[in-house]
């Protein structure tokens, strides 16, 4: 038997992964959820057909959205994760003892249940006492928050699916409002390589750049992402990701990682020319 999962990166490019077996497939109220067992990437979860998480490369993603802001912000106590139904980001955050609360706002209960069942190692992030799960739409939850968080991590990846509201101007505005005066927001910035993703990439930076005084973009190589290349946004009210970066303090924590290092932190913000050009163009747009 020969089963292949294919993700259409564009109409003309696809990434295919051999599947050992399909472990789960259901429609929740929000999306279609599939879990596959693969040889190369281990277990993977796909939302509406797009891989958002695989056992093989999830560490890259989780470390990059957590350690980068944590090595910059001086004292993170309260964190909000928007989306994050797989628990990977929460699992990475609980390594920091100074964090007092982690609110995970994920509307899709089925996604959380599926993660707990098939990815118990990752979902154990949910077991920590500091973690509260809130089943609510992210935009709706944010409307009620003011000056409440030190760090917001937007863990939603798809600007065109049911999470599209989390890539809008109102979302960035609402996040700004929900953060303390020195708050940081980290979000999925997509992949700039293929033409059809570029427009979304531009729009995201334009919105964040106008909503926050500091707005930079950083990168990572993630094999299951389109073109294997993924960007993150760092939007901040006060701290600069490089000027306020404190490598010694972070290294003293002795957190075990597989991807992130304080050297890599610096490098991640050094972008290819074509990406820099795109960002500059959006910043200089009236």
């Amino acid at each position: 038997m020969d089963i292949w999962y294919s993700q259409m990166d564009t109409d003309n490019v696809k990434t295919s992964i051999r599947i050992d077996k399909q472990l789960f497939s259901e429609h929740s109220d929000y999306q279609r959820i599939d879990v596959f067992q693969s040889k190369e990437f281990g277990k993977m979860i796909a939302l509406d057909g797009e891989i958002i998480f695989s056992e093989a490369d999830e560490f890259i993603y989780n470390e990059m959205v957590v350690h980068v802001p944590m090595a910059v912000h001086k004292h993170v106590k309260d964190v909000l994760i928007i989306g994050g139904g797989d628990g990977g980001v929460a699992k990475t955050l609980i390594q920091y003892p100074e964090i007092e609360s982690i609110d995970v706002v994920e509307p899709d209960e089925m996604f959380i249940e599926v993660s707990k069942k098939f990815f118990p190692e990752t979902a154990k992030g949910f077991d920590d006492d500091r973690v509260n799960i809130i089943n609510m739409d992210g935009l709706r939850y944010l409307r009620r928050c003011k000056d409440k968080y030190d760090l917001i991590i937007n863990d939603s990846t798809d600007p065109f699916g049911h999470t599209e509201g989390l890539f809008t101007k109102e979302f960035y505005g609402n996040c700004y409002h929900a953060l303390h005066d020195d708050g940081i927001m980290v979000y999925q910035h997509g992949s700039p390589f293929y033409d059809e993703d570029e427009a979304a990439f531009r729009a995201m930076h334009r919105k964040a750049f106008r909503s926050f005084p500091i707005s930079r973009v950083y990168q990572a190589s993630i094999p299951t992402c389109p073109a294997g290349y993924w960007m993150f946004g760092f939007a901040s009210k006060k701290y600069h990701p490089l000027k306020d970066f404190n490598p010694d303090k972070w290294n003293a924590r002795n957190i075990k990682t597989w991807y992130y290092t304080t050297h890599l932190h610096l490098g991640a913000f050094m972008l290819p020319k074509y990406v820099e050009d795109i960002l500059n163009e959006e910043e200089n747009r009236g």
Binding site: L142, R143, E164, K169, E170, G173, N174
Partner: protein, 482 residues
């Protein structure tokens, strides 16, 4: 309603059959299933262009329906509780005009509220009928026209006992309904026909807890914008007739101006939408109501905005309220509706139905999803945070009582001269002026141009309203009677 029969969709089925037969076309349209226009085919798709066909034996003819269109109209009438129904392919405008032309002849009076759609006035230009306005109150809190009070209707009816018909909006663009049952009773008592504009009321036929529909209230004719809440394609519409109307005569009136090449895309969309409404309408509109109610409560929670609902009901000028409408008063955050409308489009990529001086209207329908509602609410909150201004008083000049000097037909066909607005004061208007949307006239042919009206037009322009109707595209000049 015969629910078993409603499972059929005669036009739809005939078109599927046609597709299967692979008939070789030596008739119009000349694009021949799209082959003659590859760019259009690529854009709209073979499925769509391939069924853009003309009347033929197996598809019937809208000008004289005897087979599948006839059957579809019978099902339509049954679904809406009407005696007869007519598929319309030139918008609800054509349905409204057919209503007026069916009952009003040269010199006949028709009673109507001023906040009618311009299509009614244009119909009077065509037939020479005389409008008699029933004054409507303006709600001073939100600056919108309400419905007609029964006492006012009665007073005007008594003053114009020979009027042939009364025209009712059910509901208004904003969702306000008059006491239709009582107006029908009063009208019929005096031998007047009751015409109902249900351009914003398709769903009233398929919901609990919604204002009564025209046909259920015993009205004689109703114009239904299926393409608004009913889900059919833009420009498709339906005209319904009650017991005491002769369908053969209405058909003749419709045929006076109807195309002889009616679009089957429009007609099949009506057929499929009717089936869907008949079978699932109740459930769908319950969802729409729930979404609108959710949005209302979330928006009112933000503070500053007023998303109004059933609390407006006063048993008279607001006899009932259509809860599927999401109308929001914005002046308390210091922004006009038009300003919020523009911000939503330009800054948040959200297109709403319209903004006027004090309000916006977001159209909620069977195609909406709760996550889109969250976006709208989120954007409104962000707008309040970023753009809130000092609260401004609302210009309450809406619905200035018009002074009709000539009937619309006479005025329209008189010798006219184009003058700047200010210089036109004191003259009689020869054309219509309106804000679009909602397309409700500020000035109609035959009315006196007053200082107050000119001021209102200028104020609307300054606030960003899109003024239309005049020959001058900028609406700085107006045609008046020499």
């Amino acid at each position: 309603m015969d629910l078993i029969a409603q499972r059929n969709a005669p036009i739809f089925e005939a078109m599927q059959e046609l597709r299967k037969r692979r008939v070789v076309p030596f008739d119009v349209p000349g694009h021949k299933r799209g082959r003659g226009n590859p760019e259009l085919l690529e854009f709209l798709g073979e499925k769509c262009v391939g069924v853009d066909v003309n009347s033929m034996k197996m598809l019937d003819n809208l000008g004289h329906p005897i087979s599948v269109i006839h059957d579809s109209e019978v099902l339509m009438a049954d679904a809406f509780g009407a005696k007869s129904a007519f598929l319309m392919v030139n918008g609800t405008t054509s349905a409204v005009q057919a209503m007026v032309l069916s009952v009003i002849k040269e010199g006949d009076e028709i009673l109507l509220p001023r906040n009618v759609h311009k299509s009614v006035i244009n119909a009077l230009v065509l037939c020479g009928g005389i409008p008699v306005y029933v004054p409507v109150d303006v709600n001073s809190r939100i600056g919108i026209a309400t419905g007609m009070k029964v006492s006012e209707v009665k007073r005007i009816m008594d003053a114009h006992p020979n009027a042939k018909a009364i025209f009712v909006n059910n509901p208004t663009y904003y969702g306000i309904a008059s006491n239709l049952r009582e107006i029908v009773r009063l009208g019929h008592e005096r031998g007047m026909k009751v015409l109902v504009d249900e351009a914003h009321g398709t769903h009233l036929y398929f919901g609990d807890q919604l204002p009564i529909s025209g046909m259920a209230a015993g009205a004689d004719l109703a114009a239904i914008s299926m393409h608004k809440s009913g889900g059919s394609l833009t420009q498709s519409s339906v005209l319904l007739a009650g017991e005491n109307m002769a369908p053969e005569y209405i058909r003749q009136i419709i045929n006076l101006s109807q195309t002889t090449s009616a679009s089957y895309l429009l007609m099949v969309s009506l057929d499929i939408s009717r089936r869907n409404l008949a079978l699932h309408g109740q459930e769908s509109f319950q969802k729409v109501s729930n979404m609108a109610e959710y949005a209302r409560s979330e928006i009112n929670d933000i503070g500053g905005y007023y998303a109004y609902g059933r609390e407006l009901i006063d048993g008279d000028s607001v006899y009932d309220f259509d809860v599927t409408k999401l109308s929001i008063y914005t002046r308390d955050i210091g922004l006009t509706g038009i300003e919020v409308y523009d911000l939503l489009r330009d800054e948040y990529d959200i297109q709403i139905e319209f903004g006027d001086l004090g309000n916006i209207l977001a159209y909620i329908s069977i195609g909406d999803r709760i996550r889109d509602i969250e976006r709208l609410v989120g954007a409104l909150e962000d707008i309040k945070r970023l753009y809130e201004n000092e609260k401004k008083e609302l210009y309450c000049g809406d619905f200035i009582t018009p002074d009709l000097v000539l009937n619309p037909k006479q005025a329209f066909y008189s010798e006219k001269v184009q003058l700047p607005l200010k210089e036109a004061i004191g003259k009689v208007a020869g054309e219509i002026v309106m804000c679009y949307p909602p397309g409700i006239p500020i000035l109609t042919p035959g009315e006196l141009v007053t200082e107050e009206i000119v001021e209102y037009i200028e104020y609307s322009r300054e606030k960003g309203c899109d003024l239309q109707g005049t020959m001058d595209p900028e609406c700085r000049e107006i045609c008046v009677i020499k």
